[in-house]
Symmetry: C4
Subunit: 277 residues, 4 copies
């Protein structure tokens, strides 16, 4: 995972357990951490349900403290057993680990500040560590790569959707007006996106014939252009897959260049004649 | 279907009728069973409609008993005429067959226990036997294979959707709060999934500007990432299809080139005449 | 369009105008008919709007009669000028033409019978004739062909969706029950399909935690499996397109068989050596 | 962008700044314009929110005037510094620029006419100029090209959706009738499109069993045929992409084989060294 192995022997062993996933101890540690994270998420969720919070308040509070202390110990151990602590502390997961530990301590000093829940919720981000465990890493990397490669296309698409929503939302505001629930342009734009993405809450819906006609238009646009991101990702995914077929392909015995076309008789890089294998 | 044919002659014939689909008697049996299953489903459904149940209670009850007894006979015959009954009894359809027969008998002893309906509903699973009948088996196998091959990818995707839903649902709980219907984090997560999957019931909808902005974000994410499973299945389906042309493919005995078209009589590479196999 | 040309000269001319689309007169006739069909649809629609019907009742009624008489004349001319009237009368469009003409006459004898509107609505089917006009025929044929080829796959998929809906709908009926709006199993199945297809009216929505969890599951299934029909049609469409590439491809000069692979050096049917062109 | 460069030196410089995007000054101008457009959109939006309009009316009004005057200056400069002003004035962006400037002036003479907002909203169209700035031009051109190429197919599809909606909408009007909210055929058709596109507001929903069955059918059709536009755009996108690899492709000067990889230095068929062009 990381090449910053510590010098002293116990540090190296600790490092293997905490950061490694290959040793039995490392696997057990990861699974235990996973259970703890899921447990902490369930606690945060149950605390928000009034029915549960009234009944089991002290139990939930103690559980929170136990989880927080365990997370704190883990955080400190992670810093100790690594060679370059700074690199971990300012990494994405380092910051998430810190932010998911600190709110409970802060709650001691700033009692009643419910906005700290916001930070406690960040603990959920640690679930992404689960991916490190599973054999799904390869698949998820593929997905992320396909999404990253089509990022520019998707941004253009989202931008286009937003502009269309602003234009049609303004039109709906003019046509329907505040008396039918279209209170303001931002609210109309919100409604347009609700309709365009085929979510359709129904808290506001057009009342005039003209408004319903425009709504129909928006729906058909939304129904039609959903094809665009799908087409993009499909094409990207297919092309990426094609590319990956060549990973275990042949390479030129002369210059080592990958042979990208199955039907090539000569290396495209050095012109070396390829023997059939 | 199964190679465990019974020894005695009448058992073999019965086996052919019940398990086989090639003989005329076997086909008639399967179609009769199909009609009975659909009929039993309709009865269960109608029993649940108060209007019908009041009017035709005794008719529905008698029908239930007739279906139950016929299913019981079929279940016993299936056990008798097979060589290794244990194999059938503990197979998926064996368990479904048993569970779809037993609840009506149990209802004799535990009167009023309406939760037995749950088990009676399992009878519906037998509908899947219909697939055995039809020429759709091939198509449905293809579909199942494509889905099975992309299982890991789809699980990563569903996991990603769930994590995003938990994060954004928590955010919505903090932003909107119980006063706008977002009673608890689990309820907010439920709402987030309703929005992300573009279902949009509208029983809860954000009231604050910030909440509506986040809702807009969730919708656009949901609208955008629907492309991901589609891309996965499309690619899988396309690749499987391509592959299937060659899976049991012949190659030219003269030059070794792959025979890419099933209807080829001569090798497209060396012109060698291909023998029929 | 049809090879049953009439014998007499004026019949042949009339046939060219009514059935043909190549002569200027034929084009004018088709466009006039198109305008008339759209006009008749608008009238049927406006008649159903109470506000319009009260105001312009006599105008709408007269318009209906004019359209009906013109359609009657067209229907009679179509029968006269064709060689085998029986073939037209019992064709799809022949029946539609008849059914779209007759209701207004029937209304004279069975006054007040508003169910005749049902037949009058069939007139709308004639809109499909518009496709004959446009250059869109090719595109629409392609679409229809792609859909027809993937018919078996789509039926398996729809069947699967229905079985899943019946199972999960029954489960929701047991979990939520009539007190939360899930009155009966058919109603619950209806709700399940509303949710699975991501329509989500919100007229009924689950109230219990377990019900909302199952609803979440249904949504994610619905959100995930929408990829399946898309994948099917995409693959079908792509493969059909590939196939059509060969239409203006090479054919074997020896046996006339189509050359389906670009890289073929020998005919796959007769083994004839192919020259590069 | 345009080859109509002005004669005089200051005009050429101004032209470079306003129309060009390559010089530093041109980039700064474009970014400033972008900020101004977004700012003007935000003002139009905030003006429509009663809460904001009451509080900051004079500030918003002055901002509007400043933006309007700046846009006016820009419009005049664009006309001055171009060789053929007529070409710009009657171009798409020329008309948008004019229409987004004029309403504020008109408001001086026709006070109270709130319908002028409609024209002020057109200013939003100028956002499309942002695309000129970004490196997303290529991507957006690809998207537009893919959409344009599949225009005929998409129109056939939309036409098909509309005809199906009219037919099923009429059927629902007959089945459900005005007493369940299906007031008229146009209203029923509107409801059908809301359902078919899986938007599902829920302001109207069928009450009878038959109505709910037809609604189920509409949903499954809508859920199924969403695959069609997706398949079209996917196929179009994939084919365009494939094509673009070879469109300006080289072929081997020795054997004439197509050069399929951009980075090839030797022909993959005959091993001939390829010169850089």
């Amino acid at each position: 995972m990381t090449d910053v192995t510590p010098h002293s022997d116990w540090k190296r062993k600790l490092h293997e357990v905490i950061y490694g996933t290959h040793t039995p101890a490392g696997k057990i540690f990861d699974i235990a951490l996973l259970v703890l994270i899921v447990y902490s998420i369930i606690i945060v969720m149950l605390e928000s349900v009034p029915r549960f919070d009234v009944k089991y308040h002290s139990f939930l509070n103690i559980s929170e403290w136990v989880v927080t202390i365990l997370f704190s110990i883990e955080y400190i151990l992670r810093i100790i057993c690594i060679n370059k602590p700074r690199k971990y502390i300012f990494s994405f997961f380092g910051i998430v680990d810190f932010l998911s530990t600190i709110p409970k301590y802060l709650a001691l000093f700033f009692v009643g500040s419910q906005y700290l829940t916001a930070f406690r919720a960040l603990r959920l981000l640690r679930v992404f560590r689960i991916l490190k465990l599973a054999r799904f890493v390869g698949e998820s990397n593929n997905l992320i790569k396909a999404l990253r490669d089509s990022r520019a296309k998707i941004m253009v698409f989202v931008f286009f959707v937003l502009v269309v929503s602003v234009l049609l939302g303004t039109l709906m505001y003019i046509v329907e007006g505040p008396e039918h629930g279209f209170n303001s342009i931002p609210h109309s734009v919100y409604w347009t996106i609700v309709t365009l993405t085929t979510v359709g809450y129904g808290d506001i819906s057009p009342q005039t014939s003209l408004g319903q006609s425009i709504a129909t238009l928006i729906m058909i646009i939304g129904y039609g252009i959903i094809a665009v991101p799908t087409g993009i990702v499909s094409a990207q995914y297919a092309s990426k897959k094609e590319g990956s077929n060549n990973v275990d392909g042949r390479s030129c015995p002369n210059c080592g260049a990958e042979i990208k076309r199955e039907d090539a008789d000569y290396c495209r890089k050095c012109g070396h004649k390829l023997e059939e294998d």
